[in-house]
């Protein structure tokens, strides 16, 4: 009697254990289905099709490295890589610098209520549709009645007015600084949050030792913010690398190929020339550059950092 009850008990425990063991996997099942269908399959097939001459009719045969060879013989494609490098560098450096400066300035406001208002003032514009941001900047750059030219005329510098997006000498720089002063960004919010997290002791110690604010920023704040800074740098760089909006909305890659970048080139190759295989090859090149960037940033994050052994 007692034995059978024990057995029953242990049986039900085994069942329960099995159920408990599979519970998390059951919860993960819908996630797995979504990610496999809409992320993993497309990613692997992009790599696979980059070795084929896949076209819009759905026909394809293996061509080996032919797509990659053609791309590296293509002068336009090579210039898109240089444009991407310029664009990504300008945006990453400018975003990090401006967001950090603004975060330090807001932090120097001691009153928490006023500080919250500054945060809100810079976070609110984040919700404006992003394509609208590009359109507005297009309006700023417009040759006739554009804000920048009107402003130059208003302060008597008529000689400097020019078609900012219409000439290859200024177009790339012009699209690179869209969104200036880059304060209304996630970077700002992450920096101010991290700065507020620095222990008051560290800051007071540095103040007691008679260090200037500038010294505190370089000796305390920047090293303490190493992780978020590198994280945000990677995020901004990866996003800028695959930019298509400035071209789609403003320049179409022109004039000539002055503002063409791999992301928009991929879009053009795919949906204007219908060369899907080649488009996938461009995607793989973007992926590889991104992986290299991620590798570098991981290395920078941990090399000689104070917070890891």
């Amino acid at each position: 009697m007692e034995k059978s009850k024990l057995l029953e008990n242990s049986n039900s425990r085994i069942k329960l254990n099995n159920w408990v063991r599979y519970t998390p996997l059951l919860f993960l099942l819908p996630v797995a289905i979504e990610l496999i269908i809409f992320r993993y399959i497309p990613s692997f097939s992009a790599i696979y099709y980059s070795f084929t001459d896949w076209d819009v009719m759905g026909d394809w045969k293996m061509v080996g490295l032919e797509n990659y060879r053609e791309l590296f013989d293509d002068r336009v494609f090579k210039s898109t890589l240089w444009n991407m490098l310029t664009y990504t560098s300008i945006r990453t450096v400018a975003t990090l610098t401006m967001a950090f400066i603004a975060a330090e300035l807001v932090l120097s406001v001691r009153d928490p209520v006023i500080r919250m208002y500054w945060k809100i003032a810079f976070v609110m514009p984040m919700v404006m549709p992003r394509s609208l941001l590009y359109i507005l900047w297009g309006f700023i750059y417009e040759p006739q009645a554009g804000m920048l030219n009107e402003a130059l005329i208003a302060i008597g510098l008529e000689g400097l007015t020019q078609p900012w997006l219409g000439q290859s000498s200024t177009a790339l720089a012009a699209i690179s600084i869209i969104g200036f002063p880059f304060v209304s960004t996630l970077a700002f919010l992450v920096f101010i949050t991290s700065l507020e997290g620095i222990s008051r002791d560290l800051i007071e110690t540095s103040e007691l030792e008679g260090g200037s604010v500038l010294k505190r920023i370089f000796v305390v704040d920047l090293p303490m913010l190493r992780a978020p800074i590198i994280f945000i740098a990677l995020l901004v760089a990866l996003e800028s690398m695959q930019a298509v909006e400035p071209q789609l909305i403003l320049t179409r890659g022109g004039p000539g190929s002055a503002t063409e970048m791999p992301g928009h080139y991929l879009y053009t190759v795919a949906f204007s020339y219908f060369n899907f295989g080649m488009a996938c090859a461009i995607g793989v090149i973007i992926l590889l550059i991104g992986l290299i960037l991620s590798g570098i940033s991981t290395w920078m994050r941990y090399r000689g950092a104070y917070d890891v052994d």
Partner: protein
Amino acid sequence: MMSTKHGKSIPQQIVLLFLAIITWYPLIFMVSTSLKTQNQFYENYWWFTYPFDFENYLIVWDRISIAIFNSIHYSFGTLVVVLTLSLLGGYAFGRFKFYGKNILFLAVIMLLMIPGILTLVPLFVLTKNLGMANSSLGFIFPLAGFEIVIGIFIMRLFFERLPTELFHAAKIEGANEIQLLLFVAIPLALPGLGTVAILDLLFTWNELLWPLVLLSDQDAYPVSAAVITFRNQYRVDNGNLFAAYVSVSIPLMILFIFVVRKFIRGIEGI
């Protein structure tokens, strides 16, 4: 004491004010221009002119309301999928210990490094083959695939911080796993879900490339894509054009006014 604290930061606040003006002026310009007739626009370029001309809004409303409705429709669908899957994924990774957990989590997080543009063409062909081209499902599921990665990450952190005693107590009371999820986990997870929801809304509302590739009917465009067609359509009249721009910015702005503090705190929690 307080006054010296205030006094100290005045130069900083002047610089901040300057940055805020540069950030906000394009938005103010957008509003002021939307309230002008063509003549008023040429009279005073930089600032508001009186009387306000609200007719611009009436003229563009028919076209705009379609786009706004589309965006709300897509955003709501994506939100439901993203919140459900982020909750399930975050809960599974955050509360349970199981064999292969770290590898599975890595398999999810690694997706952050796969650029969306890489999968543009295969995803388009796949969506088309699934019969989802030109449908809201074809908009919702592929975008959700991108958004749940960060959603699962945030929800995992959130569930890991909850005290396990809560779940033990409910279990002793006889709750099964489904009840635990519905009546213990979800109510506790609301703040985390709120952060995920806002990030998700910003992402969906802003997505431009996918609707352009997926939808062939311009009447199905969400606002991000529709503003580009407005630009070509209303080019001759700046008042109309900017009224369209202001109208599409308003829904998310209004929502954000109510949640901006929670959003800032949510980011602090990550």
